[in-house]
C-alpha cells in the first residue's frame, strides 16, 4: 500500500533512513575528494511531507536555487534532485574551476557542465551504496540543470507524485563544507510503486 505513503511504519522509516545514510555517506565522500574539503553530513531526514510543503524544506517555493535533476531507471524508478542555494552553487563552481571565492556571479556553459557532473558523481555514489544495501541495480539518466525558483524546480518531481497521492516520501540529506560555504540538499524521491520494492529488498515490506 504505497499509494499513500503516509502510513509507513517506524521500522520502515528507519530502514529508509539507513538507506539514505549509506547513500549520502558515499556521496559526501565523493564530493569531499573532488573539492579536497571536509564535508559534514546531517543524519538523513526521511519525511513524509504534504506535496505543497516540500519546497519549504529548502527555504520556500520562491527561493533561488540551482537544481541538478536525474531520472533513475531500473527496478525501483526514482528521481534524484540535488539542490543548492544559488550562493552555494557559485562557491562550488569557484572551487571546481580553481577560481577565487566570489568570482562566479553567473553560470556559463562550463560551470553548468561542472555542476551537472557533480550531480552525476553524487548520484552514482548514492546509487552504488543503495545497490550494496538492497541489491537493486539502478541507473541514473544524464543530468539536467536549472537555476530557478525552488518551487518550480521541485514541481518536476511533485507532479509525478501528485498523480498517485498527496504526500511525498523524501529521503533528504544536507551537506556542508567545513567552512559552511556550501550547503546542498540531496533528495531521493522514489516513484510511488518503487517504495514497496525497496522496502521488500531490505526485508521490511
Amino acid at each position: 500500500m504505497s499509494d499513500d505513503v503516509a502510513n509507513l511504519s517506524p521500522v520502515q522509516m528507519d530502514a529508509l533512513r539507513e538507506i539514505g545514510n549509506v547513500g549520502a555517506g558515499n556521496s559526501a565522500t565523493a564530493l569531499s575528494q573532488i573539492i579536497s574539503r571536509r564535508i559534514d553530513m546531517d543524519v538523513p531526514r526521511v519525511s513524509i511531507v504534504p506535496l505543497d510543503e516540500v519546497p519549504d524544506l529548502v527555504g520556500g517555493p520562491d527561493t533561488m536555487v540551482v537544481g541538478v535533476f536525474l531520472r533513475v531507471y531500473g527496478k525501483a524508478p526514482s528521481n534524484i534532485l540535488f539542490l543548492l542555494p544559488k550562493e552555494s552553487a557559485f562557491y562550488l563552481v569557484d572551487m571546481l574551476m580553481g577560481k577565487t571565492h566570489g568570482d562566479t556571479q553567473k553560470l556559463d556553459f562550463m560551470d553548468e557542465s561542472a555542476l551537472m557532473e557533480i550531480g552525476n558523481i553524487l548520484s552514482g555514489a548514492y546509487l552504488n551504496a543503495l545497490f550494496n544495501f538492497t541489491n537493486i541495480s539502478l541507473l541514473p539518466s544524464i543530468p539536467a540543470l536549472a537555476m530557478d525558483m525552488a518551487g518550480a524546480i521541485l514541481s518536476v518531481v511533485l507532479v509525478q507524485l501528485g498523480q498517485m497521492g498527496d504526500h511525498a516520501l523524501v529521503i533528504e540529506t544536507e551537506f556542508k563544507t567545513d567552512d559552511d560555504g556550501i550547503k546542498g540538499h540531496f533528495f531521493l524521491v522514489p516513484d510511488p510503486g518503487s517504495l514497496d520494492i525497496i522496502l521488500q529488498a531490505v526485508g521490511v515490506s
Partner: protein
C-alpha cells in the same frame, strides 16, 4: 488594509478588493485567475495536473484543471460574482528540464495549459491574458482592485497580463 493571500500548490483562494492573491514558484503548474471586474471578486487556482480522471488520487479537487476550475467558479458565484462577467487569465506550464527523450510527465506543463484553456472554453469564460510555456519558474499574483495579473520571473523579466 489590503491583504496578501497566499495560494499553495494544489489549492485555490478567493477574495475581493483590495486583497491580492499570490502563488509562488510555479513550474509546470498553472496559476488560473477568474475575476469579475464589476464586483471585484476573484480567485486564483494553482493546479498541478490536467485531468482528475487520469489520477489515482483525486480527492483534492484543486490539484486538477478539470475539477479545480469549476469548484473555484462555483465559490465565486456564491460570493456574488456573475459568471457572465468573469474573465480568466493564466500563467505557468513550463518545462523546467529539457530531456531529449522527455516522457509525457515531463511535458505536463504543456498539457496543463491546454487542458485549462479547454475547460475555460467549455465554461464560456473568455481568456483575456496568458503567459504559458518556456523553461523557467514564475511567481504570479492578481490584484483584486484592478484585475491586473502580474508574472514575476528570476531572469526573464516581469510582466502584466
Amino acid at each position: 488594509m489590503p491583504e496578501l493571500i497566499k495560494v499553495g500548490m494544489a489549492d485555490y483562494k478567493v477574495g475581493r478588493a483590495p486583497d491580492t492573491l499570490i502563488s509562488y514558484g510555479l513550474g509546470s503548474c498553472i496559476g488560473i485567475s477568474l475575476y469579475d471586474p464589476q464586483t471585484k471578486i476573484g480567485g486564483l487556482l494553482h493546479i498541478m495536473l490536467p485531468d482528475s480522471n487520469q489520477s489515482r488520487a483525486n480527492e483534492n479537487r484543486a490539484k486538477f484543471a478539470d475539477t479545480g476550475i469549476p469548484d473555484m467558479l462555483e465559490e465565486l458565484i456564491r460570493m456574488g460574482a456573475a459568471k457572465s462577467r468573469l474573465v480568466a487569465k493564466l500563467a505557468g506550464g513550463s518545462q523546467m528540464f529539457a530531456f531529449a527523450n522527455a516522457s509525457d510527465i515531463m511535458r505536463v506543463g504543456l498539457r496543463n495549459a491546454s487542458a485549462s484553456k479547454e475547460i475555460l472554453k467549455k465554461l464560456s469564460i473568455p481568456i483575456v491574458g496568458e503567459d504559458t510555456g518556456g523553461n523557467y519558474g514564475r511567481t504570479v499574483q492578481i490584484d483584486l482592485s484592478t484585475g491586473v495579473y502580474k508574472v514575476k520571473t528570476i531572469d526573464k523579466g516581469d510582466k502584466e497580463i
